[in-house]
């Protein structure tokens, strides 16, 4: 059942801590009283909200519509009443609140009508369109909207890779899902293969999950699919790393695997897709590992929007001396700022910390350039050089040393004998560079618009002068004004032109300066226009009253 495994550079093998949560079967969370559903649960543009406070919604009803090309829909997890649409705490490293729809459950769990999609008879383009309203987003961590990845691209896809590596310590949600629902996962993968027109499916699973590998191998039989067991070595589950492990191909820098004819999906995404197609159910729930310093670590299938504190309660609650939570795995996750934050599409694991399991970070020492980080780096970077330049805010040099090829896997920080938080420096440098690029772009747009304005003003001035001159000479020719009084003719012409101008200004009720705008800005303007109209109506009404 196992195909060839190709070598990959770097990586490491930290203590796994998988058995804590992998023993118990997946628990289905009971209905919550209240769900907080953020509109930004994926990479790209957040969904645009469709409901207002006071609306009633049904389970599966779309409450946020995809906005732009890279965006995903958001659906109501149960039936009930929308009590608020406001910023609430969300699982995000910033700890900043983000726009959420708060739904109070009515206990009925009444759903909108869900119809299966007859995918076998559907042309791939059509299926892709239907899926774009299902809210699917990659559940491995990057949360890229799935329908975008299923759209036909420039390069034909040869191989579909199903990512069941789950290389981060502590996390077992994919493991349990593959063990318990292998057939549904494989059916989802087959639908993906069909949509992409790929020739084969490779399922990559680390060798520390033999039960999952066995179950998946059995479920592979009806399809052009094969399970490849890869050695347990973090970060084998990175998309580029797994691609290389299974095919030997290196994804070029700045490109994605589809550019070399490979598409990678997480097993949980395949499962969600299967539900979307076979049951017609949009993405409403996911399996999440609740582990660490809790009474009964386990996997829970919960609806998106369930408060995380409730999930921790379902895992028996925190033990004494807990010191907060990690969202995601211990290598790439982040600190949860508020346990009232909801479960969202990207959250695969919540680890409750304690000082014993996660000792406080030791004091960093100076870098001694020992090179351990370079040996561990799966991207074959020189992390100590990047650290040097990021620390001194020498961003151009950091970029020249390929900062943006860093996948932030954390291997370098893990092995650093000086305990330097290397990845923190890279994240800082990357976001500073991105912000500088954004500012540069904004300045560029502002410059262009300013130059265009100056050009327009100049043009208008010229046109006006031409019109003026033409009118004046016309008058002179028709002899309406005495030819022997040029001064009077000039004055008359000016007056005439002023009247003309006023007339034209009256006609110009439509704004004229909205040319050359992006769709996003035009939309914003439309919204503003609508608001303006409403305000004017209100003013009119007030005046009349």
């Amino acid at each position: 059942m196992s195909g060839r495994v190709y070598p990959i550079p770097g990586g490491l093998h930290p203590a796994e801590h998988k058995i804590e949560s992998s023993a118990a079967p997946i628990l289905t969370a009971p209905l919550s009283e209240r769900y907080v559903v953020p509109l930004r649960q994926h990479i790209g543009q957040p969904a645009r909200v469709l409901v207002h406070a006071g609306d009633t919604v049904l389970k599966g009803q779309m409450i946020g519509t995809p906005d732009g090309r890279i965006s995903a829909a958001v659906h109501a997890p149960t039936s009930g009443r929308v009590v608020a649409v406001e910023p609430r705490p969300v699982p995000h490293p910033s700890g900043l609140p983000d726009l959420c729809v708060v739904i109070e459950s009515d206990g009925q769990d009444a759903a909108v009508e869900m119809r299966p999609i007859a995918w076998r008879d559907m042309p791939p383009g059509e299926l892709h369109k239907r899926l774009s309203r299902m809210g699917l987003a990659g559940q491995g961590g990057a949360v890229f909207p799935s329908h975008v990845k299923l759209a036909p691209g420039a390069t034909p896809i040869e191989t579909l890779i199903l990512n069941g590596a789950e290389c981060e310590p502590w996390i077992t949600c994919d493991d349990r899902l593959m063990r318990e629902r292998a057939e549904a996962v494989m059916l989802g993968a087959e639908i993906m293969r069909h949509t992409l027109g790929a020739k084969r499916i490779l399922v990559g699973i680390e060798d520390n999950k033999p039960e999952a590998a066995q179950a998946m191998a059995a479920a592979c039989t009806p399809y052009q699919a094969e399970v490849v067991v890869v050695p347990t070595r973090y970060p084998s589950g990175g998309a580029k790393q797994l691609t290389q492990l299974l095919t030997g191909l290196e994804t070029p820098s700045g490109k994605l695997s589809p550019d070399i004819g490979i598409q990678v999906f997480n097993v949980a995404t395949a499962y969600a897709l299967q539900r979307a197609v076979e049951l017609g159910e949009p993405m409403l729930s996911r399996v999440v590992t609740i582990t660490g310093h809790v009474r009964e670590p386990r996997n829970i299938e919960a609806r998106l929007g369930t408060p995380i504190e409730e999930l921790i309660r379902l895992a028996g609650g925190e033990l004494d001396h807990a010191t907060g939570q990690i969202v995601g795995g211990p290598m790439m996750g982040f600190d949860l700022q508020d346990t009232a934050s909801p479960l969202i599409k990207s959250v695969n694991c919540i680890i409750t910390k304690s000082d014993a399991l996660f000792p406080p970070h030791p004091l960093p020492m100076p870098c001694i350039r020992c090179g351990q980080c370079a040996l561990a780096c799966p991207a074959q970077l020189q992390p100590f050089e990047l650290y040097w330049h990021a620390k001194s805010k020498n961003f151009d040099r950091a970029r020249a040393y390929k900062l943006f090829d860093c996948i932030e896997c954390g291997c370098c920080s893990h092995v650093c004998p000086s305990h330097i938080p290397l990845v923190d420096y890279y994240r800082f440098a990357k976001s500073e560079i991105a912000a500088a690029d954004r500012a540069k772009q904004a300045a560029e747009i502002a410059r262009e618009r300013h130059e265009f304005q100056m050009f327009r003003q100049e043009r208008e001035k010229q046109e006006k002068a031409e019109r003026l001159g033409k009118k004046a000479s016309e008058r002179l020719e028709t002899g309406a004004v005495a030819a022997d009084d040029p001064e009077a003719a000039r004055k008359k012409a000016i007056l005439e032109a002023a009247i003309e101008r006023a007339k034209q200004a009256k006609e110009n009720v439509q704004p004229k300066n909205t040319e050359n705008l992006a769709a996003e800005q035009l939309r914003q303007i439309d919204e503003i226009e609508a608001r303006r109209q409403a305000a004017e109506d209100r003013q009119d009404a007030e005046r009349q009253a």
Binding site: P330, M331, P366, P417, H419, R427
Partner: protein, 343 residues
């Protein structure tokens, strides 16, 4: 606030790294004490105390926190390496001068641990050999050749108080020195190699100490504290250059084996050239850096004014290390060789 990863490798600190390197020095040091008497223990302890003292002083003046810097063990390694590079039984102020230049000048004036351009122990050594060449060539004689072998108490007296015993009774020139003097005197290298200081292959006693350093170095490579690149390239640089010179002029030049086991070759290959702070860090850079250092070592030994060239060649290559690194950056994942994005 420090973010992910939230788990760090266990038993992985700078101190632990330094301790492992020092552990690798133990066999060589024991062999040294066995062949050259217990004087090494005096210089070792004295250098260690001086190192801690100077480190604390430098930190105090720089207003830096004491505890983390003193507990990283790096200054003890520097002291150990200097003690092994300077003759034992020399007067106490010689070590003091050496350690001052190693710790205060070479390390802290450049910004402390991790910031220094030059290997501190080698800077200390070079200052001493340039300033006090006489003391620096009076090495403790192998116990089998010495007319007087001081015990521990005698050694302490010799270092700190001085004595009325003439140094000729307990010191001798090294084998590299002997070769240089004899060949300069118009004789052949074979004449030098029959002197009593010459053992089987190189210096009597010293050749076995060098073998012990080699064992310690293999321990470092097995434990992944250093990669194979620098030691192999350094020793290959020495062997190839020595071999070439011997082929050109066999009467005046000793062979590769002699050069590999004489002087500081082994210590330099595994413990000094491999100092990650001052060496190259890219795989290709390491090969160039160490190969060139090995080449320079033999050139200095053969044509230079000083008997050994390990310290000078490593310091010269230290200067070039950042430059070499910049031009030997390894291929990054997803890029074609040479840094452009792969197709």
């Amino acid at each position: 606030m420090i973010g992910s990863p939230f788990i760090l490798k266990e038993h992985n600190t700078v101190l632990f790294t330094m301790i492992k390197v020092m552990a690798a020095l133990i066999p060589g040091t024991l062999a040294y004490a066995w062949f050259f008497g217990p004087g090494i223990w005096i210089s070792l302890i004295w250098c260690g105390l001086l190192g801690i003292g100077f480190e604390a002083l430098a930190l105090l003046i720089r207003g830096r926190p004491m505890k983390p810097a003193l507990s990283d063990g790096s200054v003890l390694l520097t002291a150990w390496l200097l003690a092994l590079s300077v003759p034992t039984l020399a007067p106490w102020w010689l070590y003091l001068t050496g350690m001052f230049f190693a710790v205060v000048v070479a390390k802290h004036l450049y910004g402390g641990l991790g910031q220094n351009l030059f290997n501190p122990a080698m800077v200390g050594y070079c200052v001493l050999i340039v300033s006090f060449p006489v003391y620096m060539t009076q090495w403790a004689a192998p116990v089998t050749l010495a007319t007087y072998v001081p015990n521990l108490a005698d050694a302490f007296n010799l270092v700190f108080i001085g004595g009325n015993i003439t140094p000729d009774a307990y010191t001798s020139a090294t084998v590299l020195d002997t070769v240089k003097t004899v060949v300069r005197g118009g004789h052949t290298v074979t004449d030098a190699l029959v002197q009593p200081i010459h053992g089987l292959i190189a210096g009597k006693g010293m050749e076995l100490v060098a073998v012990m350093y080699l064992f310690g170095g293999i321990f470092l490579i097995v434990n992944r504290l250093v990669t194979w690149h620098i030691p192999v390239a350094f020793l290959a640089g020495i062997a190839l250059t020595a071999g070439a010179l011997q082929m050109l002029d066999p009467t005046h030049n000793a062979g590769p084996l002699f050069h590999l086991l004489a002087g500081g070759s082994m210590l330099g290959a595994f413990f000094i050239a491999t100092d990650p702070v001052t060496a190259c860090t890219t795989p290709r850079g390491k090969l160039i850096f160490a190969g060139a250092a090995g080449f320079l070592t033999v050139i200095i030994r053969t044509f230079g004014g000083y008997p050994d060239g390990v310290a000078f060649s490593i310091l010269i290559m230290n200067c070039a290390a950042p430059f070499i690194d910049a031009y030997t950056q390894p291929r990054v994942f997803g890029h074609a060789q040479g840094g452009k994005a792969a197709k």
